[in-house]
Symmetry: C2
């Protein structure tokens, strides 16, 4: 084997990041998303996978075809579509976050398992129709820490048993469509209160605790024949005093391959994340991960440097030929499990895209929303004029709020004027801890409070410390709280609902998308507005 063949083999184990948009200028995150020239060059060199973000369903379909045409081998094409392909690619199904099913599972386990399997099928089928062959889900982390800023409603459960039952169902559903799934983030990211995108969280638990809480969902996913496992950027001193899980032979080889018996693809989480890149060079990080037991290197900070490092490690014997052969074999085996989309002419392409969302998937999306809605107070919202106060993370990139979103239009039809708050708004705060909203600046009349919050509700990513319980008390004391809608975090809902009089119209939906708003506002007595739009159909 020549050196260039060897480098080509190593390259096949890299997964680099591209935009779902076709043109360089459309990239949303140019730091992380390679240019077309870079992508094409790397794919021609043998790079074997691309993770994609951004663009509509149509763009993604064409993009995947383009990337596949640039490569001289079948690619692994993946995306973080944990909550339906429509979570990332406009036009596909966008489902409620998984934790909704985790909560349903408490009382209706069989129903929840059946829905999780349909959820996985929906992700897999639509991913395949758009050209992907690998869904980077399910999240197998047990969300037993409500303060977790990075997992939260992405998890399938708050207990090991629930998460395990549901992720296994998701894996079966997704993979039955000929698309690989990926259990993440091994060995368990649920009990952290810091964000590994920014720093390296520490999990202080011992092996017994890991066996009781963190590992069972991964065991369940492996038992369901999950094709891949993604590593976490976490410190677990009980397993490895020196290295984070992603770079630890104790975690990847001894625990995952040995004790858990996983023989599929092990892929790192993105090596560009600060938890890794702040401590290791791009070549060394790739070598350490591979030597620890990873097969695929996701988003190396520098693909050429990663290849150089791996090549040198192979030459020096730091990585054995057998390890390389084994990883190449696992990649081939995984590709063999995918059911590729047959080539399609323009007419077939149009037809496939037109039927991207099946009637069953529409019904699934609606059923999940209906099942997961919680509401109280049977009186409809009082009529306006009043204030429709909406809190969200970022108005500038808010797929939840298209111009014709129900959360805007329905209250407007009742005379409720919208005021939107995010981290870039002029301050709505008074400085008074007991009456934190500066109501005199926001407007008169009854207030419909709509909170779109997914992370830790009291350290929202946009607004810093946001005192919503005090706001609810303030509005109640002023007799101005007309209604409350919480979209996303069940923890915030639980904190607020106990403050409410029983008759006050209030509701919770785990989803934030327009369809969730429609279901929510129906419950609050606000009927469909004439011009509503932005639904997944």
């Amino acid at each position: 084997m020549t050196a260039s063949e060897r480098r080509r083999q190593l390259a096949s184990l890299l997964v680099v990041r591209g935009s779902g948009h076709s043109r360089d200028g459309q990239r949303r995150y140019p730091r992380w998303e390679l240019t077309n020239q870079q992508l094409r060059h790397l794919l021609e060199q043998g790079v074997g996978g691309v993770i994609l973000l951004g663009g509509s369903a149509e763009e993604l379909r064409l993009r995947c075809a383009q990337l596949q045409a640039w490569a001289r081998q079948p690619l692994l094409l993946c995306a973080d579509v944990e909550e339906g392909v429509g979570q990332r690619f406009e036009g596909a199904s966008w489902l409620v976050p998984p934790l909704a099913l985790g909560r349903l599972h408490r009382h209706h386990p069989e129903r929840a398992v059946e829905l999780a399997q349909r959820y996985g099928r929906c992700c897999g089928r639509q991913a395949r129709l758009l050209g992907l062959n690998w869904v980077l889900g399910p999240v197998c982390d047990v969300n037993n820490n409500p303060a977790n800023p990075v997992i939260n409603v992405r998890a399938w459960g708050e207990t090991a048993g629930t998460a395990g039952a549901l992720v296994a169902a998701f894996v079966r559903g997704c993979q039955s469509e000929g698309v690989l799934a990926c259990a993440k983030h091994f060995p368990g990211h649920g009990d952290t209160s810091s964000d590994s995108h920014l720093e390296l969280p520490l999990i202080p638990h011992n092996r017994e605790r890991l066996e009781a809480v963190e590992l069972p969902p991964f065991r369940a996913a492996i038992a369901a024949d999950v094709a891949a496992v993604m590593t976490a950027h976490l410190q677990l001193p009980a397993l490895d005093r020196q290295r984070p899980a992603t770079l630890s032979p104790a975690v990847l080889t001894q625990l995952l391959r040995g004790d858990l018996g996983f023989n599929g693809l092990v892929v790192t989480d993105a090596l560009v994340m600060e938890a890794i890149s702040a401590h290791y060079g791009p070549g060394e990080a790739a070598v350490l991960a591979f030597a620890a037991g990873a097969d695929l290197i996701l988003m190396p900070a520098d693909a050429e440097a990663a290849l150089d490092g791996l090549e040198a490690a192979l030459a020096s014997g730091r990585i054995s030929d057998e390890r390389l052969t084994a990883s190449l074999g696992r990649r081939e085996q995984a590709l063999g499990r995918c059911r590729p989309l047959p080539p399609a002419g323009p007419d077939a392409l149009l037809e496939q895209l037109a039927s991207l969302v099946s009637p069953e998937e529409q019904a699934l999306a609606a059923e999940l929303l209906d099942l997961s809605l919680e509401h109280q107070g049977n009186t409809p919202l009082a009529g306006g004029p009043g204030l429709n106060l909406i809190r969200l993370d970022n108005q500038l990139a808010a797929p939840q709020l298209p111009a014709m979103a129900p959360a805007l239009l329905r209250p407007a039809a009742q005379g409720y004027r919208p005021v939107l708050l995010d981290g870039r708004s002029p301050s709505p705060w008074s400085g008074d801890a007991e009456a934190p909203l500066a109501l005199e600046r926001l407007g008169d009349g009854p207030v419909l409070l709509q909170l779109l919050v997914r992370g830790n509700p009291f350290r929202g990513s946009a607004g810093g410390d946001e005192p919503w319980p005090q706001v609810v008390r303030q509005l109640l004391a002023a007799k101005r709280l007309a209604g409350l809608a919480v979209y996303g975090s069940p923890y915030l809902w639980e904190q607020l609902r106990v403050l409410l009089p029983a008759e006050l119209p209030a509701a919770y939906s785990p989803g934030q998308m327009p369809q969730a708003q429609a279901v929510m506002l129906n419950a609050l007595g606000l009927q469909a507005a004439a011009l509503e739009g932005g639904f997944t159909d």
Copy 2:
């Protein structure tokens, strides 16, 4: 000829509205954008044109193919892409508004004419590559009323001579690419201070004045062989005491066909607009427009009712067979001028889309931005920490401000914290006319004021009366104005620049897109940030 053949002929003269997105749920404006079922039914019945809005370049290309496949005849497929196809469809070129060239024309007429022709070529070439065959531009209205809320920077000039020279060049450029152009809004919408989307504006001028100001750009476009003219929803009592221009035989037949000798396609502006639909039923509006001399009926409020009305008018002799034959002939003739895109397989499709924006078009976009930038003060912006105060119409649907927009990232790199204002923000106003901004609520430090304003600056579509001159005086008095950037309205810039000390860094760009921000902020001394994105490439 059977009744159904006759109805089919009439249907070919309708242009209905669809979304550029493929799925019903993605429609942004469900009131106006037909469902796929409606569209397909109408196209199968023989409806001959569709006006499209929304979606990316890729989506539009597939959408046009889909519509064409549903119809049994060649369609007229059009869009309001007055400022480059990227103004409406993400991924294509997005150019500065035409008035920028109108202003250049004062001092550099030949250069401006050459650029206007390249501008037209850019619109035409990219429209064709995406499946359109009709650009609904140029605007031929002379913007001699700075308070005009609906034309403003969309116009090619503030005098008849400039507008005429430039629209003719645009028409030549666009049509040289095998795509029809459309001179609008006949007989001239430049001197109105109300918005015909909402009410029926009145133009009090007599025929002599119209000959001097309003008509010359239309004569110039007609001399340049423009394929189509669009009517305006305006009252011109000097020409017709009874009916608005769109429905007036005096305007469409006597003036346009007779005096101006136009023998191409006459198309109405959208009949759903309030100026028409508030006064005439959907069938009667279509009949009156057709009887007045229009060939094509754009966006009838109800396509079936329009067809019923036209059919009855033909049967009763209210519309003659000759008129129908003439309109059908003009439609055929116009279609004959289009250069259809040859059918493309997936590979050719990818290649065409990959080369959607040519190097020449990239250079044109950049050249227009450079030429139209005005700036003063050669000191760079003072360092932060400070406040980056951005005023825009609507954060929720702001293609100008992707997450990585220069207007956000570059000031942030200098320590300027963004505060964004639109019509849904908590109030930034103090109530004090002399010091209107409530600075204590917005933050400390020097202020970079960035105003994205296109309509009448003092009745902004979002913020109502906005006292920007007083704000500039207030910030100057407080020694807190670090820099000023005006994007869009030259009239606002002219009002504000006279208030500024000569050394204060300040600039104006007619464009609002990320590329305009980059050029603007370069001038203010803010260098490119590492993560910038959202450019047309």
